[in-house]
Structures are given as C-alpha cells and as structure tokens.
C-alpha cells in the first residue's frame, strides 16, 4: 500500500511538471503584458527598462526556473488586475466552483445509478426507451443552450428560480461560503447545477446501463439466480457492485473534466467562481492569473484521479494495493 502510494505521488508530480511547462509556455503567446500593466502613455525606453527589470527578456528556461521555484512555495505570481497573489484570487473563487461541481455530482450520482439500473433491468419497457431517447437529446444539446433555455423558462417566464449569481451565502469554517445553508442560496444553485450535470448525466446513465447489462449476463449472476437469491439482492448487490467498478474510474476523470466545464456554466449564470474568473482574466490578458488557473485545475485533476485510483483499490478486492507497488 505504501509503495503504491509513493509511486502514485511520483506519477502525479511528473504530470504536474508537464502541466506547469505547458501553462507557462502559454504566457509568451498572449501578447505583451506591459501594455496591460502600464497602458499606452509610457515611452518605449521605460518599457524596455521595465521588461528587463521583470525578467521578460530572459530565456524561456531561466524564466521557467524562476517561476517553478516560486510556484513550489505557493507563489504563482501576482494578478495584474487584482494586484493580489494569483493563488489568493483563485482560492477565493474556488468554493463557489467546487459547490457547483458538488451540486452537479449529487444530481449525476443520484439519478444515473437508479436510471442506469432500471434501463438495464427492463430494457424493453416504455420508460426505459424514453430515458434512453432523452439521454441522447441531453448529450446533443450544448451546455450553454440548456442553461439559456432554463433561464428563459424558469427565471423569465415562470419566475421560479433566480437567473444569476450565488444569492444568499453563509460563511462556514471562517473561509468557505456555502449555498447549501439558506433557501435563497439553494435556489440559486439549482439551475447552474442542472446545467453542469446535463452533459455528464446522460453519459453516466448510458455507461451504467451498458456495464450493468453485461454484468447481468455473467455466470455469477446466473449462479445467484440458481441459488434462489431474491431479485433485488441480485440486482443491487451482485450486479451493481461489479457494474460500479469501471464506472468509478470513469467518474474520477469526469469530476476533473467538470471543473473545467464550469467555465461555460458560470459564464451563463454569472456564477462568481473560478471558471467565470478565468474568462475575465483571458479578456484582460491577466497572464499570471491564467497560468495559475491552468495549474490549479491541472492539480485538481491529478488529485481526484489519484484519489479515485486509491478508492478503486479499496472497492475491488482483486486489486491488492500492496502488490501493485512492486
């Protein structure tokens, strides 16, 4: 177990190294940071002086090494716009985004398992066919369209739900602002969560359905029937437990992807999270903030994947983590 953990942490570090190089390389392709910093009125000589002072004339290697050294200590540069450390800016926005991802995950997990199992057990039922048909529609409609349609119907026409912002949030643990503590905050997170879930949910229903149908054909499920085990136990223990093994792996990757997907959802709903912030940073050519965002998202991705792999080892008895370290 320990050897495996160490191995995984080394892998994660290697991935983070590559992500940091790519993110940093983007910097050179986003235009002249000085224009954003000092505006038009400063003379060319002063600009050159500033460039030299900021180290922008150094080679890529020197610049990257300087950046990496600071990054390890948690200094990802200073945002040009906010005049604050980029990491601080992002961490302030992080809770909003993670709550959105959490809301979407609850919807996905809560619906995909029962619907996937039902469509696998009763493939010929009318309801199953309706679910499968709708899931195709769900996959095909882009997130921003789902979001705009929802705003039109539920916010503009019916006036049931608020259309933008986080609403009434409550501070917990002195740092984290949550939507789940008040009714107003909860109302604000409903539509963004559904919009964010709208792409992944159909994918997961279809994934669980196909895995489950395969499992139901297996010898051990047939054997469970031959032992006289009750149908519910066969479906929800014998078959579902085996079905979920591959789903967990895919799910871990998708949580990371969802953090990235929030850019669209947050923009449509004016959700004050890091996705919305990223888009604004791009508009302002706030290079340090862009680089820091890419690195943080990459970091979240790597961490969730590592955690999911460890979790998989706990769920699947045939994976012995101790042996995998070898």
């Amino acid at each position: 177990m320990f050897a495996y953990l160490v191995k995984r942490i080394f892998q994660a570090a290697a991935v983070m190294f590559v992500i940091s190089i790519i993110s940093f390389a983007i910097q050179d392709n986003l235009g002249d940071p000085l224009r954003e910093l000092v505006g038009q009125s400063v003379s060319e000589e002063v600009r050159n002086e500033l460039r030299e002072e900021m180290g922008l004339n150094d080679s890529f290697f020197v610049q990257y090494t300087r950046f990496a050294k600071k990054a390890i200590t948690g200094d990802l540069g200073t945002s040009y716009f906010f005049k604050e450390p980029a990491l601080t800016v992002i961490l302030k926005k992080l809770p909003a985004t993670l709550e959105l991802v959490l809301g979407a995950s609850i919807i996905i997990i809560g619906l995909s398992i029962p619907l996937g199992v039902y469509t696998a057990i009763r493939p010929k039922a009318v309801l199953s066919k309706a679910i499968m048909g709708l899931s195709i529609v769900g996959i095909s409609i882009p997130v921003f369209l789902t979001a705009i349609l929802m705003i039109y119907f539920f916010a503009v026409e019916m006036r049931l739900l608020p259309s933008y912002g986080r609403g009434d949030v409550v501070e917990v643990f002195g740092y984290w602002k949550t939507n789940f503590a008040t009714w107003d905050g909860f109302k604000h997170i409903i539509m963004p969560s559904i919009a964010l879930a709208s792409i992944m949910l159909p994918l997961f229903i279809r994934l669980i359905r196909s895995e489950m149908m395969e499992t139901l054909q297996s010898d051990y499920v047939r054997y469970a029937w031959a032992k006289g085990i009750k149908a519910k136990r066969i479906w929800f223990l014998h078959a579902l437990k085996n079905t979920m093994l591959p789903v967990i792996t895919v799910g871990g990757v998708q949580i990371g992807t969802m953090v990235a997907y929030t850019i669209l959802t947050e923009t449509v709903f004016q959700w004050p999270g890091m996705g919305f912030m990223f888009l604004e940073a791009v508009n302002r050519v706030d290079t340090p903030l862009i680089v820091a965002y890419l690195i943080i998202v990459g970091f979240i991705f790597v961490v969730t994947n590592t955690l999911v792999d460890l979790l998989y080892g706990l769920v699947n008895p045939t994976v012995k983590l101790a042996r995998m370290g070898a």
Binding site: Q217, S218, D219, Y220, V221, R222, Y223, A224, W225, A226, K227, G228, I229, K230, R233, L237, H238, K241, N242, L245, V315, N316, P317, T318
Partner: protein, 331 residues
Amino acid sequence: MSLLSVRDLVVKFAMRHQTLTALDHISFELAQGERLGIVGESGAGKSITGFAILNLLSQPGFIAGGKIMFDGKDMAALSSEEIRLIRGDRIAMIFQDPMVTLNPVLTIGEQMVETLQAHRNISRSDAEKIAIVKLREVYIPAPEERLSQYPHELSGGMRQRIIIAIALLLDPQLIIADEPTTALDVTIQADIMELLLELCQNNKVSLILITHDLGVVSQMTERTLVMYAGKIIESGKTREIVNDPQHPYTQGLINALPQQTVAGHRLKQIPGNMPGLGSLPPGCAFHPRCDFATDICKKSVPEFVSFADVKVACHEVARLHKTKKAEAKDG
C-alpha cells in the same frame, strides 16, 4: 413416484429470422436418490436441459412445450417466487467453470450466508456455523478463514469444492452438475467427481450429471441419456449403455475413449461435426456421420423405441445388433 419427471420438453430459441429448436421432446424420469448422466457433444442440448428444469434459460431461449414435474409439483404452474424457493433449496446447481461462477467482489462467507438466508429465517452467525460444517464436508482446510476470503484468493479446485458445499447447504433433493470438472486440471477432476459421488450417496441426493465423458458417467451414474442435436437418442441403465451400446453414435463415443484404443494407435473418432441447430439434416440427424446409414435414415426421423435392455432411436438398430453379435462370435 419419481422425484423429477420431464415429459416432452421442447425448448426453442427465438432468433431474429427464425426460431430454432434446441430441445426436441425430451422425456425422462429421475427417482429420489438416483444418479442420471446426460452425455453428448457440445451443443447437443445437455446444459439447456439442466437450465430448463430450473427455468433459468437465458434469452432468447424459452420453454415451448412439455411438462416438468418436480416432487409432485408442475413447475410451469408455479409463481416466480415459488420457483425461487425451489432454486438452491430443493434443486441445487453446480456450474461448469468455478473461476467465473462465484461473484468476484463478495466474500465466500457472504455468498454462503446469503444462500441460507434466502431460504431460511436464520441469523448470520448460525448461517456461518452451517457454512463451516459444509466446507469441512468437502475437505476445505481451515474453513473458518475461508469465509472472509474472496474467490480470487482460492484455486479452481478449491472454488469448485466451495460451490459443491454451497449446493449442499440446504440439503437439496436434487443436484444438477453441469460439466463440473471440465474447467479443472486433470489431476483434480477425479477428486472432485469422487467427492460428489460420496456426498450424493451419503446424503441420498439425486444427481443429474451433465458431461461429454462416458468414462465419468460409467463411474458416477446408474442411468444414462445420450443426446444428439437436441434429442435423446439412447437411454437406459448406464451399465448396459457402456457395455453394449446400441446406437451407432453411442458406439462411436465409447470407441473414442482412450481406454478402448491400443496404446500407440490413433484414437478412433466419429467423423465430422454435429450439425448446428439451424442446419439439421432431414431424417435422422446423425445420418451424415453414420457408417450404417441407409436411405430411410435420410428421409424419416427414427422412433424412440425399446430395444434389448435400452431405448434407442435408430432405424438400423436391429441389423446393427446382429452384425455386432456375429462379429463378437467371430472375434
């Protein structure tokens, strides 16, 4: 009264373009404590017979006719809950490949306890006690430790012993064993068969042994059915069938046994392959591979009639019998 009575059982498979007949009017009886062998090549319908008895045919197979009576009850008249209560309790099944029969994510204990709890109102600790007793009966070393192990931690032979122990958990009246040793090492095969025989005899359990191996059948069973292309072509006491087979197909099977061949010579095999269900020849399904086939074999399906001490479905059985006797005299 017999424990199990199968009358004119017909099983069909509804395929996209046609409906195939997998079992064609299968009939047999099984008395309490009796051991029956069902022999034939792959695809003859042996396993389907076993699954049909428990109403466990996989899609698209279905029972299209006939009657299955178990312990005086018509299986077709039972509700799905009543059939569930028979499965695993009154009729237990042993599957072919122990490597894929046990659920990989549940412990041995879990899979044994759930079987008991599906049929008896019994606490977990009492169920575990019974499980340990049964594991000991099948000579599993350290049975207490096995309960917390997962299937992948055990060898194939060990897993098949556990599956036999699960079959015995509820003291069934009938065990259906579908090629229980085919997937195992040759060295373990004899052990498993011996164990199965011993347990059936000690507990007075009836056995249906599905196999392609006539040698095994002769050691294990009292009566034998020989199947070919979904039909029973010969049935009778195992001793008679092994010593004096009447149907040319049964004779071919026996001649193909290694014991029948002088060392250093090639094994005698039956030429050709069994036809697929979709392309059965007219008349006797065996005639294209039969050395003794005549014109009538190509046209009409032979009746299943008593001959000598067995029942057999062959047009030429009388002629064959005479030649064989003559050969025996000359030899």
